[in-house]
């Protein structure tokens, strides 16, 4: 429903005499001023919570993102120090921007060893659109969206991360993993 502003508000003579309403407005602004001033000065002594200011001093302070935030995708490094990835190529296919590049390799097929593994796995963050489809497509819990978003380089070629740069220990991805299980219901057969 459209919202109409009533432009013909009948003001009382008290409101029309300017001064009291101006004083009221000044009270509001000075209230904010003094409240923030006394919350602001202790901030430099290490107290943060008392101020009402929501601005983040960006490089020094960073925001706490909710777990659903989609930052750059990372690869999970399993407990056996090998990537969880089995180089199935589902994320490569799911990726709408074609930023994932996988070269699969084959293991000997002995017991307790996955048969396929990625020889090369690269994500070009200059191309990535942070959609999270790779994470949704992955059947092995190998690729996750992290909370890092500040990938800035002076060289476009450096934006292409290789596997060594992408791997993150699985213990660090616990929360996101739980969230994905809940959201995508991957293992709820």
């Amino acid at each position: 429903m459209a919202y109409y502003v009533d432009r013909n508000v009948k003001m009382t003579w008290w409101e029309r005499s300017y001064i009291p309403e101006i004083l009221r407005g000044m009270m509001i602004t000075s209230r904010h001023f003094f409240k923030n001033l006394f919350g602001f000065v202790p901030f430099f002594l290490g107290k943060k919570k008392d101020r009402e200011i929501f601005t983040v001093y960006y490089p020094e302070e960073t925001m706490q993102f909710p777990i659903a935030y989609r930052g750059r995708p990372v690869l999970a490094l399993g407990e056996n120090n090998l990537p969880n990835c089995v180089a199935c190529g589902l994320c490569e296919i799911a990726c709408p921007a074609y930023c994932i590049d996988i070269i699969p390799g084959e293991n000997s097929g002995k017991q307790n060893e996955v048969e396929r593994y990625p020889v090369k796995f690269s994500i070009d963050y200059a191309v990535c659109i942070f959609c999270g489809f790779c994470e949704e497509a992955c059947p092995e819990e190998a690729i996750f969206m992290s909370d890092q978003y500040d990938i800035t380089m002076l060289d476009r070629k450096k934006m292409k991360y290789e596997m060594e740069q992408l791997l993150v220990p699985v213990a660090d991805l616990k929360d996101r993993m739980d969230f994905c299980r809940k959201m995508y219901g991957k293992w709820n057969y």
Binding site: I22, M26, N36, F44, F54, T55
Partner: protein
């Protein structure tokens, strides 16, 4: 004779330091930081020297450096001479006004009577108005000589606004002059030592003078002449570098001037309430005659500039509270509200003075 000259030079230097050297640069920082804190932001804090930011105070130095090193651009088709001259016409009256502003009383220092005013004119308040209306030429000429439509529009608005509010401003203070019976700023100040302060005797005049003074200074509720959202920057659209800085400084120094005039006319000048100079002197009797005078002088100067700072703060709050008036509303307020009310104020004051 040489002593008198030296004393006057010291007073001039003091005024220049406190306006151009202290208030004008610090207010550029205060305006940003105060508005930021008021609006739940953080504000200027990035300029640092060796990782030390001092609440963003170094932005003053950064600003000054920027203004000194920027290209001084004169647009094509502009009148070069007037384009250069107008910031000077705008800035100088703002500083010259302080010649008659007393920032303290009279004190006996080592056998020499020192009056803390550079030039004690009989028609002090008239001098203030006369000089401050010269500044209008600076703004109008700046707008005209820039060869820019926005500038010209801003200049025309400046001219009409300043002329209409000068009438109201002149009439609002007549009540004060009637009450204290003098035009000399030092006498008006001295009369408030024991008598009532101006804003008690003249509450209507106080509010109206403040309104008219803000309108004269073209600050926010009345900033139609510069109006960033309508006229780019009004009369100083085509200015850059130090010339822009001069317009900028003129605005801030005028804020200090308004604060000083308000303090002298309505807020007890350099006096502390219920504490006349004689009592204050007797409190510092143990220091000896000369040093007690010196201490009292310093206290009075401090009190005066404290009050000025308070009025500057109020102006800042108003600037960040109210939205801009429409142009016709400004004119309506000036001619249909302030002018009749100030005339009524004069009549009312006259009747009261006659009866009591």
């Amino acid at each position: 004779m040489w002593i008198d000259l030296a004393i006057t030079m010291v007073k001039i230097l003091f005024i220049l330091t406190i306006t151009v050297g202290f208030f004008a640069p610090v207010l550029t920082w205060v305006e940003r930081k105060q508005s930021a804190i008021m609006q739940d932001r953080i504000g200027a804090n990035r300029a640092d020297i060796l990782g030390f930011t001092a609440l963003g105070l170094f932005h003053i130095i950064a600003d000054a450096l920027k203004m000194f090193t920027k290209e001084d651009f004169i647009p094509q088709g502009a009148n070069r001479a007037l384009h250069t001259l107008s910031p000077i016409i705008a800035l100088v009256p703002a500083i010259v006004t302080f010649a008659v502003v007393p920032f303290g009383g009279q004190y006996m220092l080592w056998g020499k009577e020192v009056s803390l005013v550079i030039s004690d004119l009989d028609v002090g308040i008239l001098f203030v108005f006369a000089i401050s209306s010269i500044a209008t030429y600076g703004y109008v000429v700046a707008g005209w000589s820039s060869n820019n439509n926005w500038s010209l529009l801003g200049a025309m608005r400046t001219a009409s606004q300043m002329i209409s509010y000068e009438v109201a401003m002149g009439l609002t203070i007549i009540g004060v002059l009637m009450v204290y019976g003098s035009m000399q700023l030092t006498e008006i100040g001295a009369a408030q030592e024991t008598g009532y302060w101006g804003f008690i005797l003249q509450p209507v005049g106080f509010v109206m003078f403040f309104t008219a003074a803000i309108a004269e200074n073209k600050r926010v509720p009345f900033d139609a002449p510069e109006a960033e959202s309508e006229l780019v920057a009004g009369y100083f659209t085509e200015y850059s570098g130090l010339k822009f800085g001069m317009f900028f400084m003129a605005e801030f120094i005028e804020m200090v001037t308004i604060g000083a005039i308000m303090t002298i006319l309505f807020f007890g000048a350099w006096h502390i309430p219920f504490l006349p100079t004689a009592t204050l002197l007797s409190m510092f009797d143990f220091l000896g005659d000369d040093f007690s005078n010196l201490v009292v002088m310093l206290i009075h100067v401090g009190v005066f500039f404290g009050k000025v700072t308070f009025f500057i703060f109020v102006q800042m709050i108003i600037r960040w509270t109210l939205p801009r008036f429409r142009y016709d509303q400004i004119m309506k307020l000036g001619w249909k509200v302030l002018l009749p009310l100030s005339l009524l104020n004069i009549v009312g004051t006259g009747i009261v003075i006659l009866l009591f």
